[in-house]
């Protein structure tokens, strides 16, 4: 139902009619929602008030709806398009988790629900038709969302709720803000009764924000191979960098794979940290080189190993023939030599 309705409206071109479109569109949207789900008259009134408030807000803050890039967004993707996708889905109430820029399962289900509700093909992909419909059905205030992510704030982006109450203000400065007040904030949000937003102040905030690419990434998350945490990867990257930083890339992947093979093996500890910190297991741990800051290559090597690449072919030992002090290690059945290391079973 809603799909056809939106179609009819959005053939009208932007800009001039922006205000009216948004207003009418929202009214209709809410009306439909009322017909479908909420029958209680008690909720209707505040909702209508809300719609009006929102319309005012929307027309005042003239943030152009930011458009997606032309690329198809797929499960597992990361980046700005995903942030926008999650924001828009949250705006419409489909997505309830953190806007972090990682297309995980929650985003996937949200997108599929959106596609279902709006009569699109349900494929879980952010393709051209889906994105177009999303752009029309929702608003995306890129500056606001980016700013929140950059500052690492907890925030939400639900449509129809003033942005000010969807974010914690000055998380550092007001860390000791009494719980009670936060509770009230939440309550207000629940009742959806609030003053209209103050767009001027907000825009100023946005201008203050530095436009650095890296800084923008701040709270935006990265993908992590399933079953491991960002910290596991960091720890392994440290070990790999300390042990094999002069080695070719494959050699580094192989060292990371050896750590994982040991975790699997019954004769070694069962955790990544247990294997790495086993006394006398790695020289880089013994002499403290493990605490050097690993480079990007070491991190990539760890990623590859965690994703299943094992150039060592299941080795659980490796040694540098030039410096190996133990005669015993030479007795292990050797698998192959990569760079300076001999890998053994």
């Amino acid at each position: 139902v809603s799909g056809t309705f939106f179609n009819s409206f959005f053939c009208i071109k932007k800009k001039v009619l922006q205000k009216t479109i948004v207003t009418i569109c929202l009214e209709q949207f809410i009306k439909e929602a009322l017909n479908m789900k909420w029958n209680s008259t008690l909720i209707k009134i505040p909702l209508l008030v809300l719609v009006c408030l929102f319309a005012i807000t929307a027309s005042l803050s003239q943030n152009e709806a930011q458009a997606f890039s032309s690329q198809v967004i797929q499960h597992g993707a990361t980046g700005d398009d995903v942030v926008e996708l999650q924001s828009r889905l949250q705006f419409l109430g489909f997505y309830n988790k953190k806007i972090d820029g990682v297309f995980g399962w929650s985003t996937y289900w949200a997108l599929r629900n959106f596609q279902y509700e709006f009569g699109l093909e349900i494929d879980g992909l952010g393709g051209a038709a889906t994105k177009a419909k999303l752009e029309k059905a929702s608003k995306y205030d890129e500056g606001f969302v980016r700013e929140q992510i950059r500052q690492g704030r907890e925030f939400t982006y639900y449509g129809g709720v003033p942005k000010e109450i969807q974010t914690e203000k000055n998380p550092q400065g007001q860390a000791q803000q009494p719980r009670q007040q936060r509770g009230q904030d939440a309550q207000k949000q629940g009742q959806q009764q609030n003053q209209p937003a103050q767009p001027n102040q907000e825009r100023q905030n946005q201008q203050d924000a530095p436009e650095e690419q890296d800084a923008n990434k701040g709270g935006q998350a990265d993908n992590v191979p399933s079953g491991y945490s960002e910290n596991d990867i960091k720890l392994m990257a440290n070990a790999v960098y300390g042990e094999a930083r002069g080695e070719p890339y494959v050699g580094q992947v192989a060292v990371a794979a050896v750590i994982l093979n040991r975790v699997e093996s019954s004769t070694f500890p069962n955790t990544i940290s247990g294997v790495i910190f086993e006394p006398r297991a790695f020289t880089a741990v013994a002499d403290g080189q493990i605490w050097l800051e690993p480079n990007d290559q070491a991190r990539r090597a760890v990623h590859d190993a965690l994703n299943g690449y094992d150039p060592s072919d299941g080795a659980i030992y490796y040694f540098n023939p030039a410096t190996a002090t133990s005669g015993w290690i030479w007795g292990r059945p050797q698998i192959k030599k990569i760079g300076k290391h001999i890998f053994a079973d």
Binding site: Q71, K97, W109, T267, P269, D313, A315
Partner: protein, 441 residues
């Protein structure tokens, strides 16, 4: 006058240096003692847990009621894992104590299997009872030997720091009491490798060893391997390739190729099996430029690559973006059944769409064109009824996975959510047992 001042200054300096040196010495000693104490704690904990372990296995032999066997075997399982953990904290890494560790792990597996079993339906068999008896005997021996080492260590104030030093200087024959004691323990365990672990565990280890038997074909020469690589990767003739054989410690015979492209200065590493010349893996590394392709376009590139190399009927099952690369997992699909073990991974650079890594080992060792699916005993609806009531199912498939006994089983796969969290549940299509459950991010 001047001399006295000078002497005084020097004297002060000497005293200062002395005091500083003494303090440093004290601090170093403190740290050494701390490290030593950590080792001591792990060592004595290990002894304590082996003690209790022996006792618990003994109890299992004595009790008759099923209500008692399960808890005490669960206790055995817990204790083996504790002991395992403590061995990992001792500086034994390069000392052969493997047999004992393996033995402990196997006791753990064995007791876990029985502890979780429904002993009402399937009581402890005579064979298993016998195995437990043997394990008890063995555990008693290990316990006694370790006790002895412990007593000697306490009596003579033996330090683990000395063990570490002795192990580090490997040239001279080791006459360290602790090392000798541990070596004796390990040697004795070796003699007990003929313990009957029961069909389940035996099958599991057989499967593990026989995993690579599936690699078939006529052996190929080094030259042929090089040609295959050139064809597989579409390489020009100016690209250098160095071929090496892998050693006898490897699980399967293979050639390792180091491929150097002089133009791009990218080196690629490739492995090809000797039997049949199957490509196992490719890994290359280069700086990835700015992202020009989406993950979706990357997956199309990966698909094209696989199609070109005769992978028929594989389907994308997982895609993940890491920085500017995409990692894609494809699984074999036959008669609408996803065969998860038979999977292949491709990594695509999202700047120009190059394939930068490939991993076909799993696909190779599980490839089985003759797989036959029998009609499942449960219908999809019957299986669905067995799921947790709170799970909202969004998607379902039929799929094959490897269960925790290492067998391939046909399952119904359900993807659903409970309170915003996504779960994947594999239900055995015949028995309705939940074979594998995982939470997805």
């Amino acid at each position: 006058m001047f001399r006295t001042i000078l002497i005084a200054v020097f004297a002060l300096a000497a005293i200062g240096t002395g005091a500083w040196g003494y303090q440093e010495h004290q601090e170093k000693n403190e740290l050494l003692i701390q490290a030593e104490n950590n080792y001591q704690r792990a060592f004595h904990d290990l002894n304590f847990h082996i003690d209790t372990l022996e006792e618990k296995i003994g109890t299992t032999l004595a009790v008759n009621s099923r209500d008692q066997i399960s808890p005490s075997l669960a206790e055995v399982w817990r204790l083996t894992s504790q002991a395992h953990n403590e061995v990992g904290q001792l500086p034994l890494a390069l000392m052969p104590f493997n047999k004992t560790e393996e033995f402990l792990a196997k006791i753990g597996d064995f007791s876990y299997r029985i502890a979780i079993r429904d002993l009402e339906k399937e009581p402890l068999s005579d064979n298993e009872y016998e195995t437990l008896q043997k394990l008890h005997q063995k555990a008693t021996e290990i316990k006694n030997e370790l006790r002895e080492v412990q007593a000697l260590a306490l009596e003579n104030n033996l330090r683990w720091m000395d063990v570490e030093l002795a192990l580090a200087s490997d040239d001279k024959p080791q006459d360290n009491t602790i090392i000798d004691g541990f070596k004796t323990v390990d040697k004795n365990v070796e003699g007990y490798s003929e313990v009957n672990w029961g069909p389940e565990l035996t099958k599991m280890s057989e499967r593990k060893d026989g995993k690579y038997k599936n690699i078939k074909g006529d052996p190929i020469s080094k030259k042929k391997a090089e040609q295959l690589a050139r064809k597989f990767l579409d390489l020009n003739s100016d690209v250098e390739i160095r071929v090496e054989e892998n050693g006898k410690g490897a699980n399967y015979g293979a050639y390792n190729l180091k491929i150097n492209n002089p133009k791009t200065d990218v080196s690629t590493f490739m492995e090809i099996t000797k039997k049949g010349g199957h490509p196992v893996s490719i890994i290359s590394d280069r700086e990835i430029g700015e992202r020009k392709l989406s993950l979706y376009e990357g997956s199309e590139k990966a698909q094209q690559f696989l199609k070109k190399h005769l992978y028929n009927g594989v389907e994308l099952s997982e895609s993940d973006q890491y920085d500017n690369t995409g990692v894609f997992t494809f699984v074999q699909v036959k008669e609408d059944v996803r065969i998860y073990p038979q999977s292949v991974r491709v990594k695509v650079a999202l700047d120009n769409g190059d394939i930068i890594a490939y991993d076909g080992l799993d696909y190779l060792i599980t490839k089985n064109d003759d797989r036959i699916f029998t009609e499942p005993k449960l219908s999809k609806e019957e299986a669905k009824a067995k799921l947790n009531k709170n799970l909202k199912v969004n998607e379902d498939h039929k799929s094959v996975i490897i269960n925790n006994l290492g067998e391939e089983v046909l399952c119904y796969e359900f993807l659903g959510t409970i309170n915003n969290e996504t779960f994947r549940i594999f239900l055995n299509a015949d028995t309705g047992i939940e074979e594998y459950v995982e939470q997805l991010e």
